[in-house]
């Protein structure tokens, strides 16, 4: 082990300057995001610009991290017959251990250590810190593994550059192709088989670089290592075209869906379903792809101080041979990001309002109308709790755990008061997704929180839930920095038949922030 550390120390000694710069840039990116509010003249476009800037910075840092990880491997090149270490008594297993340990230290532990003061300064709890460090390690691990696999079979930096560019272009296309990301949703593949394929593809995709790495470090037989990569590619193609078995969990079947629905049922919560399907005249006969299914309805029965949110809709079609195929659905209503006013008020300890039940709607376009449709709706019941309150004046702050809320400005306009808030929260990368209707959307969406605000005076004679608009959001390294705008309508008093703004209504006003967090999930099955 001491020799492994000896190699690690040498690598750190070699890379300390670029590594230090990289870490400084990682820290600067995060600090820029944290302090961004005060830096920009805030408009939606300026915020978008800053958000893109920070995101681009993140991509560049990822690329630099990838290059540094490759450098770490190529410092003791595995391919070159001129590499000095190869005629020294250093075996491949020891070198692999040293490089892996070095990568862990340099690209996971050190960045986490550098960011820890920022995270702690933002009030992260131990769990949030662990989550943030875990997310960082996962991301670094994936980048390092990819860099190691490529650098391990590359002799020169020029070759590495060319291959990295080639891989950056071709691999996403290949992965998209085999995973069906470019294909239309649904299709003829039974859902269990499709899920099994997805798991297999993921396993092959993760194992192939690891096997390549182990093989290359232990044997240094580059052609065979490249052949392992080729075998991985062939296996993935084989899975895509030839895998017809279903080893997915029993949860894929409709019966188990019903069981799951029953288990997660909340007797108080009611879903009303209205079906509106449209199909062309001959669609039913020919099975042409000109069928549209829409379902909508209301969700009711959420306890006071909570609300219901539709997180995802997953469609299945049972065909004549009893196999199941997926049907793409998207949620067009019901995925509300702002809580209803009544729920906010009740959660804030104020009397509620009479409100209409929440509506929901989903639709699927152009699918085969034949067979039995089943759609599993996944919803969440979100319960509110008061995070705290802050006086209505610029600079006022509310700090609760990792949640920071600060009033940046209060502006009087024709429509009333416009209050700009800057906020900072813990936020984890796995909540982001390219596809809001993707296979993991139910899991991802069901973990999102929603905030509501109540404006009230000390005597509670004036209470208002202001309209909330998001100006912009910047997400970096498990932190979410965002700015929202509350529009407050002033109360009026009628004097001599003329409605006038109530004098002194702003005095003693406070803003109460209410956070709604997912309490439990709910599933409902609808079928046609």
């Amino acid at each position: 082990m001491s020799l492994v550390w000896h190699i690690v120390r040498k690598d750190i000694q070699r890379l300390w300057l670029p590594l230090g710069l990289w870490l400084a840039l990682v820290l600067a990116q995060t600090l820029l995001a944290v302090h961004s509010m005060g830096l920009v003249q805030v408009t939606v476009s300026s915020y978008e610009g800053l958000s893109y800037f920070v995101a681009t910075w993140g991509v560049i840092l990822g690329v630099v991290g990838f290059v540094l990880a490759a450098w770490l491997v190529m410092e003791d090149n595995l391919v070159s017959t001129q590499a000095g270490w190869r005629t020294r008594p250093i075996n491949g297993a020891r070198l692999l251990a040293a490089k892996s340990l070095g990568a862990l230290l340099m690209f996971s532990v050190l960045p986490a250590a550098v960011l820890t003061p920022v995270w702690l300064g933002c009030g992260f709890s131990a769990g949030e810190w662990a989550g943030a460090a875990g997310a960082l390690m996962l991301r670094s691990g994936l980048i390092s593994a990819a860099a190691f696999a490529l650098a391990g079979i590359t002799e020169t930096s020029g070759q590495f550059l060319l291959r990295a560019i080639g891989a950056a272009v071709l691999l996403p296309l290949f992965v998209g192709y085999v995973s069906g990301a470019f294909a239309r949703p649904g299709g003829d593949t039974p859902v269990g088989v499709a899920e099994s394929r997805s798991w297999l593809l993921l396993a092959i995709g993760l194992l192939t670089p690891l096997v390549m790495l182990g093989h290359q470090f232990l044997t240094r037989r580059t052609l065979r290592t490249v052949a392992i990569f080729g075998a991985g590619v062939v296996l993935m193609l084989g899975v895509k075209f030839a895998w017809v078995w279903d080893f997915s969990s029993p949860g894929s079947g409709p019966g188990s869906d019903q069981q799951a629905a029953a288990a997660a049922a909340d007797p108080e919560v009611k879903f009303r379903v209205t079906e509106q399907t449209e199909s062309s005249a001959d669609a039913e006969k020919n099975g042409d792809a000109s069928f549209q299914a829409r379902w909508s309805g209301v969700m009711a029965g959420a306890p006071a101080g909570s609300f219901l949110r539709l997180d995802s809709a997953r469609g299945l079609r049972r065909r004549a041979d009893q196999s199941l195929a997926t049907v793409g659905f998207k949620v067009t209503a019901g995925r509300q990001t702002t809580p209803p006013e009544s729920a906010v008020r009740v959660a804030a300890g104020l009397p509620g309002l009479a409100e209409e039940p929440a509506t929901w709607a989903i639709e699927s376009d152009q699918t085969d109308p034949r067979g039995l449709f089943q759609v599993r709706l996944t919803a969440s019941l979100l319960r509110g709790r008061v995070l705290g309150e802050l006086p209505l004046r610029p600079g006022a702050e509310l700090h609760t755990g990792s949640s920071l809320t600060r009033i940046v400005s209060i502006e009087r306009t024709e429509s009333g008061l416009v209050v700009q808030l800057e906020e900072c929260d813990a936020w984890f990368a796995w909540l982001a997704g390219m596809d809001p209707e993707g296979p993991d959307s139910a899991w991802r969406n069901s973990r999102r929180v929603a905030d509501g605000f109540v404006l009230l005076n000390p005597a509670h004679t004036y209470v208002q839930s202001p309209a909330v608009a998001v100006i912009g959001t910047i997400r970096v390294n498990s932190l979410q920095v965002y700015r929202r705008e509350l529009t407050v309508t002033p109360p009026t008093t009628t004097v001599a038949g003329v409605a006038q703004e109530t004098p002194g209504w702003e005095e003693g006003l406070v803003i109460m922030k209410v956070r709604f967090s997912p309490d439990h999930p709910l599933t409902r099955l609808i079928s046609r």
């Binding site: 070699r14 070159s80 017959t81 001129q82 005629t87 008594p89 250093i90």
Partner: protein, 304 residues
């Protein structure tokens, strides 16, 4: 006992056969030189021996172990210095030695200090700031300080100016007195090899031309001058061992590759009765050049 043995060792780079059936034995304690022109296959042979390349066919054993299975234990007993070896140029001499030391249980700090002083190396200077000659000395030092059983030098004199080359050879000779190692050296710099080697092997186009002791080699090559008192004579059907046979007036010159005083004089007198025969010793360089010429002529004849 042989430190290195190869049997029918072959290596191909795609379609090019760089090494063809090399069979070689390097005795323990010898300074063995593998000679050959550029592209003869010397470096390929060494890379196969050091497990940097895998043989396409044949077997090679280094320190009694199949070269494909050279492990930490064997590599701790082998010093390797090559003209193309990648050294960590960002390190200082001191850092390189500090880095190498823990990998060798037999690292001798006293020898390290002695060699440092002997090679006159600046400890705190980065390798990238050193001249090529200095770099080779650093590589040599880091390969000698653990007293290896076998020191492999691949074209160590390449690119060194004559002064540095002489310095390096002197350093090598002095170092050889400090340990009991076998040296396997590949080079096309014959003068330097002549000063060092006690065994010679010649590679030509990947094939072994001969392998023998330096003494035997120098002993069996002579430049012969035959003075003919009666003017020019017929030179047809010379013996197989005569190279570069030429006649200028009454003087016949050739290179005898199987010199034996009595036998050579007898062979001359059979062809040139009453001639005066003079035999001049040859240097390794002259031998090498005459063999290269003969090889070239042979190739031309075969091609024609």
């Amino acid at each position: 006992m042989n430190i290195i043995e190869t049997e029918s060792l072959t290596h191909r780079y795609w379609r090019t056969e760089a090494l063809r059936g090399l069979t070689l034995a390097v005795p323990a304690g010898s300074v063995f030189a593998l000679l050959g022109a550029n592209g003869a296959g010397k470096t390929t042979a060494i890379k196969v021996l050091m497990n940097l390349l895998r043989p396409t066919a044949g077997v090679s054993r280094v320190l009694g172990v199949d070269s494909r299975r050279l492990g930490e234990r064997e590599l701790a007993q082998i010093g390797y210095v090559s003209e193309n070896q990648q050294l960590p140029l960002w390190m200082t001499v001191r850092q390189l030695l500090n880095y190498c030391r823990p990998f060798y249980p037999g690292w001798d700090r006293a020898l390290e200090a002695k060699l440092l002083a002997q090679f006159d190396l600046p400890e705190d200077r980065q390798l990238k700031q050193l001249s090529r000659g200095m770099l080779m000395k650093v590589a040599l030092l880091s390969s000698l300080a653990y007293r290896p059983q076998l020191l492999v030098l691949d074209e160590p004199f390449s690119g060194l100016d004559p002064l540095v080359r002489d310095d390096f050879v002197r350093g090598l000779l002095e170092a050889s007195e400090l340990g009991d190692w076998t040296v396997f050296i590949s080079s096309h710099d014959i003068e330097e090899v002549e000063r060092l080697a006690d065994h010679i092997a010649l590679l030509e186009a990947g094939q072994l031309r001969f392998t023998e002791t330096t003494e035997a080699l120098l002993g069996r090559f002579r430049r012969i001058e035959v003075t003919l008192p009666g003017g020019p004579a017929r030179l047809d059907a010379p013996p197989a061992g005569w190279l570069e046979l030429e006649q200028k007036g009454g003087l016949v010159r050739f290179i005898e590759t199987r010199y034996d005083r009595a036998a050579t004089e007898q062979a001359c007198r059979e062809r040139f009765p009453e001639a005066a025969v003079l035999a001049h010793p040859m240097t390794l360089r002259e031998i090498f050049i005459s063999l290269a010429r003969a090889r070239r002529a042979e190739v031309r004849t075969t091609a024609a």
